[in-house]
Amino acid sequence: MRNKIDTSWLRESATFSKPVIKEIQRAAREGIYDIRGAGAKRTIPTFDDLLFLGASMSRYPLEGYREKCETAVTLGTRFAKNPITISTPITIAGMSFGALSAQAKEALGRGATEVGTSTTTGDGGMTPEERGHSELLVYQYLPSRYGMNPDDLRKADAIEVVVGQGAKPGGGGMLLGQKISDRVAEMRNLPKGIDQRSACRHPDWTGPDDLEIKVQELREITDWQVPIYIKVGATRTFFDVQLAVKAGADVVVVDGMQGGTAATQDVFIEHVGIPTLPATRLAVDALKDLGMHREVQLIISGGIRSGADVAKALAMGADAVSIGTAALIAMGDNAPEHEQEYNDLGTTAGFYDDWQDGRDPSGISTQDPDLGERLDPVLAGRRVANYLRCLTLETQTLARAAGKTNVRNLEPQDMVALTIEASAMARIPLAGTDWIPGYSGKF
């Protein structure tokens, strides 16, 4: 029998921590980088580093549950003949059929429709299930153009030109062969079972001047009916947002580095892009600098989890937010009832992020028909709706406490920052001071 070793005195290296050692061992064994789903896991400044100042002597609050606090937002008022109005300032972000099961896409549509908001297609095109169960559907126009066709384009309630996403700005995608079912292969016009590469840049334009013409082409094809969004991953956000406005966007979507992905290299997710917090402030600065704040609507995404996150994004100047990962969790991703199967996959509920490999026990990030059948789209849709309602109520709660009759009336002056980093990034004063690091009174 071996002696039990006392490990309590052992000092773990900050440089070569246990996870780092494990990753080096894995890389040496497999010879390839780690690919996974979800967004950045590293500790970064977030909306959690801001606090609201409730009403006090100088402001009075609204009565909870009794006094009206409006949540509806209209998107696409700049050029589109038919802007869309969502009942809550929370939309469902683009996630592809292929990455997600048909059941999951249907559930997202059901949930969004139940609360009067929009959902979004993804790489791979529009499925009848998603269109049929989504009252408001945003059709993504992506570099791969998988499944892209003018009939579906004209069925959309809005079009989102995807330049980049927060998890991998500057990167394309890879749907691994094990997730390529007959149906996915047919929609994407590629052989079954091969890794499907999604390009990192569009095939027929190369810069903002070209994009302006491309946006006009999309408007021409859809007879100027629907709003056109431009989505960028958060990097050089100030300039990207200004160029998106120049290119003719009705709505700009900025996705911070916490934004999820179905399959991307871990090194990309963790080391490229900027957090949602500074990206929000930079995007609002860019719109105000052009005199286009509120003329062009701003949607913020990347790590939105709670009504507090929603309220803080709105207070910084966003018009709405998008959720992706949180919606998957609401549907049942990482649910404890699948614990045994998570264990069989070498993980545990709460840590499962191998959304790329198609073996998701919850039936969400899979194309396996048996696994997909596990997800009841009606029940999962109901969970999404419940979650969206909860976020909306939380947002209203904070807005009422700040004395606002409309959630979009929240403003930066309603908040303080808890940390120097968050203060500098959000340009919100450090709590208890009037100090904003690096701020000289103008941007």
């Binding site: 497999e30 010879g31 390839i32 791969s144 153009r145 892209m148 066709n149 003018p150 384009l153 890879m174 691994l176 062969g177 994407r188 016009n189 590629l190 052989p191 079972g193 091969i194 890794d195 590469r197 390009a199 095939p203 027929d204 334009w205 070209d210 013409i213 491309k214 006009q216 082409e217 021409e220 094809i221 859809t222 007879d223 100027w224």
Partner: protein, 225 residues
């Protein structure tokens, strides 16, 4: 014959007309296009469109069913994402012509610039002259016929599309190889040339396609990525 003079009329008026079902079976002439962008974008019905002059970006983009002829040169993105019908250019075409197109026939009687047929998804493209670099990059399906020469990296990362080249390629892209011309390919090429109205002997062409070595990511191929 209905005529749109783009010196006076907006492109919007032309495209609106092409989106209406009453354009079915009509013949439309477009004069003085003046290099304007998005001319005849999103046509939906079996309409004959003759454009007399040069056009800018995305002419005939996402075309469905219409038969569109440009009696001049075309700017970037000609017939991008075309679904069906046909587009013909009497002169030259700029870069990305036929990008991501799913169906139909695209004929460029002159030369086509870089990235011709990039990510094509089922379209047939026949180029009477030569094409630029990185053409048929990530081409998924369909057929690209080049009667002249091809620039560097022809067919890089090609999937199941077929390339027929009469002249020489400056270089082949990753995973693109020459393949034997069998009887079926001679027959297929002859039909394509006939449809395009371009006369060449199919036996003068070589066929290129995917080696299919990069279809699934393998670390042993890291030098190819």
């Amino acid at each position: 014959m209905r005529e749109f003079d783009l010196q006076d009329a907006e492109v919007r008026m032309l495209n609106q007309a092409l989106h209406g079902s009453d354009s079915e079976g009509q013949a439309i002439a477009v004069v003085n296009p003046g290099g304007k962008h998005n001319v005849a974008a999103g046509a939906q019905f079996e309409t004959q469109v003759d454009i007399h002059g040069h056009v800018g970006y995305y002419c005939a983009g996402m075309n469905q069913n219409a038969r569109i002829t440009v009696h001049g040169n075309a700017g970037p993105g000609l017939a991008e994402n075309m679904m069906s019908g046909s587009v013909a250019v009497k002169g030259n075409a700029s870069q990305y012509c036929g990008a991501t197109a799913h169906g139909g026939l695209l004929v460029v009687e002159g030369d086509a610039a870089a990235r011709c047929g990039i990510s094509m998804k089922g379209v047939d493209i026949v180029v009477g002259g030569s094409i630029g670099h990185m053409s048929a990059f990530m081409a998924q399906s369909g057929r690209l016929v080049i009667c002249g020469d091809a620039g560097e990296s022809l067919g890089d990362s090609i999937y199941e599309a077929r390339i027929y080249l009469r002249g020489e390629a400056a270089s082949l892209g990753t995973d693109c190889i020459e393949k034997p011309m069998e009887t079926e390919h001679i027959k297929e090429l002859k039909e394509l040339l006939n449809k395009a109205g371009i006369k060449h002997e199919p036996a003068e062409f070589k066929r290129y396609g995917s080696a299919r070595k990069l279809y699934n990511f393998q670390v042993d191929n890291v030098g190819a990525y």
